[in-house]
Amino acid sequence: MANEVCFRTMHLDEPWTLEAYKSVGGYKVWRDILKNKTPANDIIEQLKTSALRGRGGAGFPTGLKWSFMPRGMPGQKYVVCNSDEGEPGTFKDRDILRFNPHQLIEGMAIGGYVMTATVGYNYMRGEFYEPFARMEQALKEAYDEGLLGKNILDSGIDFDLYNHMGAGAYICGEETALIESLEGKKGQPRFKPPFPANYGVFGRPTNVNNTESYASVPVILQHGGQWFLDLGIPNNGGTKIFSVSGHIKQPGNYEVAMGMPFKDLLQQCGGMRGDKPLKAVIPGGSSSPVLPASVMMDITMDYDAIGKAGSMVGSGAVMVIEEGTCMVELAARTAHFYYEESCGQCTPCREGTGWMSRVLHRILDGEGKIEDLDNLQDIADNIMGRTICALGDAAAMPMGGFLKHYKHEFEHMIRTGRRWVDDQQNAA
């Protein structure tokens, strides 16, 4: 059971073309909607049944989110696709854009229809040059085919879609910063509420979903919500693309059923590089807390199981870490990322990320003090939940994971100035 949803064209030659997409049943759902004017509520019900949860990181149920849009409200509304894909370790949206762009287009068009939004924007990160070109090509094909534009196929339904390229800032993946950036402003998150559903692009109601979320919709509607749900396990419907990276033999994107045991996924990836033992896994992108091998080897890959173990599915970026990796260095590298990417708007994140990063680098430099560890936890706790957007949380959460499971490595370095992993190896 692989590559059934977002990657369903993957086995074809030039899977990104309209022809390839049509050959797997692409745009059938859209044409059907245009013809039959399927009631929006029916579509939302299917999505709810499917238990599709947002693939951007927060895992918010997509059907529910769509139902929040004030559909009856007059005036312009927007659907926006978040293809910023900035979370370190994540590279799944890129492959959807490169290999199955039409499915995203169809998903967004359906979203536009359901939420009575006649304009869509697909916001891609600044580095996505190739995906952008593919999307542009696909958009042209879709327009030429008459599947987008005004009064599409004489249905009286309008939907225009635009590709937009950002300038490469992690924060622009946060939905309200993305909206600001889309409006041509500095990418800084807005305070919520109001949520985008009430006050989004240009102050109009806007729905923001991740690329994978939108791209899942046509397949769900084609086969029914129940079919999708059944692909996975209860409450964790369907498949999910995991971007697996790190110390494994075959890094890459794996679209697999939710609830697959981690060890099976590891198997699919060819196992550990050099057959070294597994030390730990960061299961959902750099902002999710690290989990030790012992925990990982026992759990399944789904929201509930990973959540119970103390981490998150997040964006689905699975980073596999082998024995011998220094967790202090990993923590410092992670902290540095958030320090660099904080937008600087609100105090705890602006000041706290820099503080954490500096303390960790000082420890690496052999200048650590034992009280630094309590302070690090405290700084993380003080950022957590006190910021405008979740970047602060994203910076704070991993800290807890590192300190919870690998405190001894930090203490060792503070005391001796050496890496715990080196001394372990030498002792062995």
Binding site: Y339, G344, T347
Partner: protein, 763 residues
């Protein structure tokens, strides 16, 4: 909007739905710490200092951005709230330099205050602190950007209140810096407000930097002398020296803002060369003398000229920013002598309808009503230059309403104007006539005479739009600008404006020169009317006649006509040619040194009590903040002594309040009946011209002498720079006061004042 009931720290409070927790707490006098929140700015919610504990929320929430809900229970002081607040405080302080001992904000710093309550005495932060390069943003504002806490109040002020994005945030994260991007001077005419807004010492006032500590200063309420709004200010002084001027909140007039000239013009009285002793010119040489000698000389000369040339050859010109009391006594002195040559309308050119003018020109609606206007027509008004704070008010109306303008010359507004009709001064009348014609077309009942008068005028689409906007909207007004009254056909303009207002039903307003044109009218500082618009059987000469035809003797009450009037060349010729010029001025430098014969040192605007009547007819009295320099005296006292020496009746006032009361009594017993209305002319006029409007910092003798204003971008752009440059002292020496003058300064009643004048002359 309905109301809900919420509870803050156990106190039950009524709250309007949609309002934020912090507003309700503020109204109830309960303090929640904050930095980014400001009641006049949008909510940014970025500092996180205001985190409070709200029922049902697992996280602490920002009080400035959390709307109230019925039954909501807020705890500002629970453990959860305290921990959140303390943690934010710690974050704010880690990279702050904590250089309070050398920071100008020390003692009045919001960060310092809040840190006292929420900070720790020892820091856990042992890393290197962030340092930010300072920016030079001009002569008014000093920056120390390492102290910035990124609250963005200064940024939001520019974007939201002024409509000029001068300050901005560049860079991300810890590298975010507040500044002007490319290092450049701030240009806005209200820029100084960011000094008050900045909660820390990142933005401080350059001219008063390091001059005094907040706790050393005393504060005296004042009224700004620069424009007709009557902006409320607070004058801060220490040991008799004015240190700075800051806003005094008055929601009806200036809200919490003041313009840069309101803020910095005090420099003219503190730093420019002041006249500290009376002087008499003898054989072309200026000689210092005592008051008695000077005033006796003035009396003798005035009496001589009255004898030899006739009293009609004596006249007085008064600054439109003189106080009501000064205006009243000056005209009383002149009329006492027998002359009606009195005027304060220095920039006016067309006096043909002066008998039809109202009791005083002004706005027939409140200043704060402007922000609710759905349609506003500006007639030759350049608000940013003339009444900067009015521009901020009107800008607010453009969120929902429409501003339209018909003007001559270059006008740059900081809000959207449409239609925005710019024409040569000679076409202004035709434009307004077009609007009247459009209104006549749109109107049902217009008198036959009026219709007949406009029968040949074909309105343009813009004129049609303006007419219908003013007519359709209930909340509509028009404002005749200050410079419209400098037009050579201003009488016709005023009649047209009034007609537009009558036909469209929109409210009418005229903006006037100086701080006290209304006071000038009411005090009777006019050649054709006595105080409180009482009819005069003699009509004296107006400014134009006095300066163009020439007089033998002039009394100049705090005005330099060659710069203040519209008649520079004529003024210079007439003043030089005349036999005797008495100059009452606080300043030692000016072209008057050439033409005056006696210099009488008077108090500067921070040194005298008095009253300004603003454009809405609001009487605002103030007291002296500090004592006048050297031998200088409040002008009303000088005029009083002069009146007595001239043996005129009714100069026995012991205080400025007494003078004020006298005018007020006359004013209140007046009925409108005594005041005329603009008459319909027999035919329509056309053409006309307007003198080039004065630059923003060349409008009065104070702005001309304020060094920092002259150094600012606007000041550098003064088009008469060459004429006023020499007035600014680059560096003035501190005054040394003689013991004698100290005795005089304590004198207060009329008797002792005269006596003290004599005493010091005896000595």
């Amino acid at each position: 909007m309905g109301t809900v009931t919420i509870e803050i720290d156990g106190v039950s409070l009524e709250a309007e739905t949609g309002s934020m927790i912090i507003e309700i707490a503020d109204d109830a006098g309960m303090h929640i710490p904050r930095f980014c929140y400001h009641k006049k700015l949008s909510v940014a919610a970025n500092c996180r200092m205001c985190l409070v504990d709200v029922s049902n929320s697992p996280k602490a929430v920002p009080a400035c951005a959390t709307p109230v809900a019925d039954g909501m229970k807020v705890l500002t002081n629970s453990t959860k709230a305290r921990i959140a607040q303390k943690s934010v405080m710690e974050f704010l302080l880690i990279n702050h330099p904590l250089d309070c001992p050398i920071c100008d904000q020390g003692g009045e710093c919001e960060l310092q205050d809040v840190a006292l309550g929420f900070g720790n005495d020892v820091s856990r932060f042992t890393e290197g602190k962030r340092v930010v390069q300072d920016k030079n943003i001009g002569p008014l504002i000093e920056t120390d950007m390492t102290r910035c806490i990124h609250c963005t109040r200064c940024v939001r002020f520019g974007t939201e209140v002024v409509g000029m994005r001068e300050m901005g945030a560049t860079g991300r994260g810890e590298h975010m810096e507040i500044g002007t991007y490319i290092e450049k001077s701030i240009e806005s005419e209200v820029s100084g407000n960011i000094i008050d807004l900045c909660p820390v010492g990142a933005l401080t006032a350059k001219p008063s930097r390091y001059k005094a500590r907040a706790w050393e200063m005393q504060s005296t309420a004042g009224v700004s002398p620069h424009d007709c709004l009557g902006t409320n200010i607070e004058i801060h002084h220490r040991r008799g020296e004015v240190i700075r001027v800051v806003p005094r909140e008055n929601e009806k007039i200036n809200e919490v803002w003041i313009s840069d000239r309101d803020r910095f013009s005090y420099q003219s009285v503190t730093d420019s060369e002041r006249l500290t002793q009376p002087k008499i010119k003898k054989d072309g040489q200026w000689q210092t003398c005592d008051w008695e000698t000077a005033l006796t000389h003035v009396c003798d000369q005035l009496n001589n000229i009255k004898q030899s040339e006739g009293v009609e050859n004596i006249g007085a010109l008064i600054s439109p920013s003189a106080t009501l009391e000064e205006m009243y006594l000056t005209q009383k002195l002149m009329r006492g002598l027998g002359s009606h040559n009195i005027d304060h309308r220095l920039r006016q050119v067309d006096f043909s309808s002066q008998f039809e003018a109202p009791m005083f020109p002004g706005m027939e609606f409140d200043i704060d009503a402007l922000e609710d206007m759905d349609a506003t027509l500006l007639i030759d008004a350049d608000l940013r230059r003339e009444q900067p704070l009015l521009a901020l008010r009107l800008r607010k109306s453009t969120r929902h309403g429409r501003v339209m303008s018909v003007h001559s010359g270059e006008v740059e507004n900081n809000f959207k104007v449409s239609p925005n009709v710019s024409v040569p001064a000679s076409d202004l009348l035709a434009q307004l006539q077009g609007i009247v014609a459009a209104l006549i077309e749109q109107h049902k009942e217009v008198s036959a005479e009026l219709t007949e008068l406009f029968v040949d005028i074909k309105p343009t689409p813009d004129q049609q739009t303006i007419a219908s906007e003013l007519r359709i909207n209930d909340n509509a007004c028009l404002l005749v600008g200050q410079s419209a009254l400098e037009h050579s056909k201003s009488s016709h303009i005023r009649w047209l404006a009034k007609t537009i207002s009558d036909l469209s039903g929109c409210a009418f307003g005229e903006l006037t020169a100086g701080a006290n044109t209304a006071g000038g009218y009411i005090a009777g500082a006019l050649p054709h009317r006595l105080s409180a618009a009482e009819e005069s059987n003699i009509c004296g000469w107006n400014t134009q006649q006095m300066l163009q035809k020439g007089l033998s003797a002039y009394l100049l009450m705090n005005t330099e006509p060659e710069l203040d009037s519209s008649y520079r060349d004529a003024a210079r010729v007439s003043l030089l040619k005349s036999k005797f010029v008495v100059m009452m001025t606080p300043f030692a430098k000016g072209e008057f040194l050439d033409y005056a014969d006696v210099l009488l040192p008077i108090a500067g605007f921070t040194e005298t009590s008095g009253t300004f009547i603003n454009v809405c007819g609001e009487w605002q009295s103030f007291t002296a903040a500090v004592k006048a320099k050297g031998e200088a005296r409040p002008a009303w006292k000088v005029l009083r002594v002069l009146g007595n020496l001239l043996e005129l009746d009714g100069f026995d006032y012991v205080s400025s309040q007494e003078i004020n009361a006298a005018v007020k009594e006359r004013f209140e017993s007046t009925t409108d009946a005594r005041v005329g209305h603009f008459q319909r002319p027999d035919s329509l006029e056309s053409g006309g011209e307007k003198p080039r409007p004065l630059s923003m910092y060349d409008m009065d003798s104070l702005t001309r002498r304020s060094l920092c204003l002259q150094m600012s971008v606007q000041g550098q752009d003064n088009w008469r720079r060459d004429q006023i440059e020499h007035l600014v002292a680059s560096q003035s020496l501190p005054e040394t006061e003689s013991p004698d003058s100290l005795i005089n300064l304590s004198a207060s009643s009329a008797e002792s004042e005269t006596a003290s004048l004599q005493e010091s002359s005896d000595a």
